[in-house]
């Protein structure tokens, strides 16, 4: 296979005591006998001699043998496996005894320096192994994250077949495990279409509230001071507690067309028969508002548009308005405002649009 004399044979010839790493030699020996079917009689003899010289050699060879067996069972086929991998794998088996020949060996050369060196190597290997496991664990446990930028909307198909539509400036973390599907709504608004899986509940964490669905559609709108949950289809159970680990009390069930508002004092009593087209209007970038304070409607526009609108009049902000609008058309909305008697709209370089109402026109006390 190689032009150079294999290590285990060279070692034989040099008649030196284990000048090279025994594992390395064992690996090369293994390579000679497993990789090629036509090992020469002299190679067989050399191998036989090498094996007889020390139980350590036998142990090393058995280790390599076992490693290769493991590698093969993982469908890594020889000779595609480079010798380095083989050696590395064999070394990582150091901490697992294969035979106990070593203890019984009277000829073993084992100076304290050597023992110390081996301990150090073992420690280094253990540390490396630990680090590797830690990294693998971290990668496995760290959630998948999906987010949208300002004014952006996005549909995400999750691994289980569930769909999530993310509204503007939103972020979710997804973590799927054997018996559980965890979603954390970090910020913003999301519409969940949960793929049915009775053995893997679909839990959405939002602040202190957990929403559990088995197969359903529901919308979660998370704002600075409140979260609104609306069920479109199926059933969602709601748990609210101080922490995720807290045992949760009786869980109110939310059914289709139910909406519940959760603020700092916890979930309110659910509303029934909510108009669902208003709840999902955002997926068509539409704003549907019914007798809502103008200030709140302005905030809706500000969620989607970089040029913010500031209404500098409490009276005007509390004025209730109704309408159907495209979220990305604040210009028409400003056109409506500027047609209200006494209302002035001016563009401020930094702040966006400032809407003011003349004092003389302020009708509210």
């Amino acid at each position: 296979m190689t032009n150079s004399v294999p290590g285990w044979r060279a070692d034989m010839k040099r008649e030196k005591t284990l000048s090279r790493d025994v594992t390395e030699q064992a690996a090369e020996a293994w390579e000679t006998f497993q990789g090629t079917d036509e090992a020469s009689p002299s190679e067989h003899r050399d191998f036989d001699d090498w094996m007889r010289r020390s139980p350590e050699h036998v142990e090393a060879y058995l280790r390599v043998f076992r490693t290769m067996h493991t590698l093969r069972s993982q469908d890594i086929r020889w000779p595609d496996t480079p010798a380095e991998t083989l050696i590395r794998e064999a070394r990582s088996y150091m901490d697992r005894p294969v035979t106990t020949l070593r203890e019984e060996s009277p000829e073993r050369f084992d100076s304290p320096q050597r023992r110390f060196a081996r301990a150090r190597l073992a420690f280094a290997l253990a540390a490396t192994l630990f680090a590797a496991i830690a990294v693998a664990w971290f990668i496995m446990m760290s959630p998948q994250t999906f987010e949208t930028r300002f004014g952006e909307q996005r549909f995400v198909r999750l691994d289980d077949g569930s769909g999530v539509t993310l509204n503007t400036a939103s972020r979710i973390e997804v973590r799927f495990q054997k018996g559980h599907r965890f979603i954390r709504l970090v910020r913003g608004e999301a519409l969940f279409e949960v793929a049915h899986d009775p053995v893997r509940p679909f839990d959405v964490y939002t602040g202190k509230t957990i929403l559990r669905a088995v197969g359903t559609r529901f919308n979660v709108d998370m704002r600075a001071d409140r979260t609104t949950v609306t069920v479109l289809e199926g059933v969602v159970s709601l748990k609210h507690g101080a922490g995720e680990a807290l045992p949760l009390g009786p869980t109110p069930l939310l059914r289709a067309s139910d909406r519940v508002l959760i603020d700092s004092s916890g979930p309110r009593r659910p509303e029934h028969n909510v108009r669902l087209d208003e709840v999902t209007a955002w997926t068509q970038q539409k704003l549907v508002f019914k007798a809502r304070p103008l200030g709140e409607v302005v905030e809706e526009f500000n969620r989607y548009n970089r040029d913010r609108i500031l209404v500098d009049s409490p009276g005007l902000r509390s004025e209730q308005i109704t309408g159907v609008f495209k979220a990305n058309d604040p210009a028409s909305f400003l056109s409506f405002l500027s047609n209200v008697p006494g209302v002035q709209v001016r563009h401020d370089g930094n702040a966006g649009y400032v809407v003011t109402l003349d004092d003389s026109s302020e009708r509210r006390p």
Binding site: D277, Q320, T322, G323, F325, S332, F333, F336, V340, R363
Partner: protein, 119 residues
């Protein structure tokens, strides 16, 4: 092979041209043109709020008004071929309200006599 490729190319181009055309036309649509476009509308008689929302849904127009204006007002139904303006005239008849096209895609409901603020 080549013909199929060209065909695909041609389809792509015609799509592009159509989109451009639609975009240009959309940009040019004036209030008057919106006024002239007839739509098949089916809006049942109901509260004016619901009727206006339905009009917005069926016509794709934006609708906005101060909520106090429509309180307690019922609307007759509209069914057939109407422009948005014609439909609004029918729906607002006798309510003391009128409408104003803010632009080609937005209609504001207002008092028949003056401003948008409820009196």
């Amino acid at each position: 092979m080549k013909a199929a490729y060209l065909q695909g190319d041609l389809r792509g181009w015609s799509c592009f041209v159509l989109i451009c055309l639609a975009w240009t036309l959309d940009g040019r649509t004036t209030d008057q043109e919106t006024e002239r476009i007839k739509l098949e509308l089916r809006i049942p008689a109901q509260s004016l709020d619901e009727a206006l929302q339905e009009l917005a849904r069926q016509s794709g127009m934006q609708v906005i008004y101060f909520s106090g204006l429509t309180q307690g007002i019922q609307s007759v139904g509209v069914s057939g071929s109407y422009t948005v303006g014609e439909a609004l005239q029918v729906m607002l008849a006798g309510s003391g309200l009128s409408f104003r096209m803010l632009n080609a895609r937005t209609v504001a409901i207002r008092k028949a006599d003056a401003g948008e603020l409820p009196q």
